[in-house]
Subunit: 211 residues, 2 copies
Amino acid sequence: MTPPVFAHGSLRLYLLALLEERPRHGYELIQALSEQFGGTYSPSAGTIYPRLAKLEEEGLVTKSTDGRKSVYEITDAGRAELDARRHELDEIENDVTDSVRRLADGVRAEVNDAMRSLRAELASAAREAKRAATRMPAGSAGASSTSHADSSRAVHEADLVLNEFRQQLRTDLRTRAHQGRVSTESVTLLKARLAQVRADVLATLVDTPPN
Amino acid sequence: MTPPVFAHGSLRLYLLALLEERPRHGYELIQALSEQFGGTYSPSAGTIYPRLAKLEEEGLVTKSTDGRKSVYEITDAGRAELDARRHELDEIENDVTDSVRRLADGVRAEVNDAMRSLRAELASAAREAKRAATRMPAGSAGASSTSHADSSRAVHEADLVLNEFRQQLRTDLRTRAHQGRVSTESVTLLKARLAQVRADVLATLVDTPPN
DNA sequence: ATTCGTCACGCGATATATCGCGTCGTTGCA
DNA sequence: TGCAACGACGCGATATATCGCGTGACGAAT
């Protein structure tokens, strides 16, 4: 969705530049980058480690394990590569700084959206639940008898359904309680409806011939 | 700063309960917990893995490596421990849900603060002047039908209702499974009906004006 | 009974590594 | 010359593990 902060090959060069200052381990490089660009952009581990592995494979850095850390050190070949392309570094820094600024603007917009969606939390949950309830295919007019295995699976599935339902409503009610009030009428309604559901489900269990 | 979501020993038991449903690997448990508590609370890896290691050490779970995943499976000793303390689980769920709720409110407040401070420069001066002029006569004599205490009691009552319903249906289904079959249609019906109930209850919560 | 120590525990921070998606460049062929 | 296939790359998500701080529970000592 959002464009990459580092363009093709830029990160590679930038890591090399950081390792020229002094040997560092992977996590240290992540922190260094995060600090360099105002904390707004933190490169993920999935960005750094593959690049370091590649650099090692190319012989531009060496890797040595120290306890649970992996320290990377630049080689002569690495320094040569850096010298050959040092003029690119300034441009990279400019580009990255611009990218980060654009990113920060995006974040601010997203926070605004998040606030809106937080306010709509309850309403949207209600709508979603209603939609899920409406979507009832109810087909499968098959005369298929239920096997033993299916029965066990059904009981287990029912457990999960019950659990999820309970958990959801629990959260719903607490959310509401914290931003307003939960009337006793709601609980009365819940009780009545659940009793009805139980009766209906039991009916389907009894009505089905056990043969 | 913020208090832990899980009290002493609670996480241990909760993990055991999750593993009773089916074997899972560490990351899966993190996701399961995150989902169960509305995505607001995501336990960190540093919370889960030490606990799993301890559980294995105690012989309550077994660990088996599958590719790059580590699958944990509950043992008989684990099930025994769980049976002995199953009554604690509901309380834990209550506590955790409350903690998460408080956490979410905190986050919301913090975001609000951040947004406010962003907008503050222009708006706050005007708003403050207006507030100073009005001076808030503190009327607010609303004949609110539901008091705070009633609301809390309602939530608690709802918990009990939900619990009882779940327990009853669990028993119903198992009884039926022992003397015959439980069809998947019953489960489908249950799911749909529960979704409907949730939607209806949520509707009563949303329709009621908070002030 | 109180307090004092310590031990377990929750958890964020630290640390590493892989997978898969989407995109950008390059290369080679039509 | 145009473009299409391919590979390299950035990066979020997936996955695991340890360290150290602060707190809370619990027993021992007073």
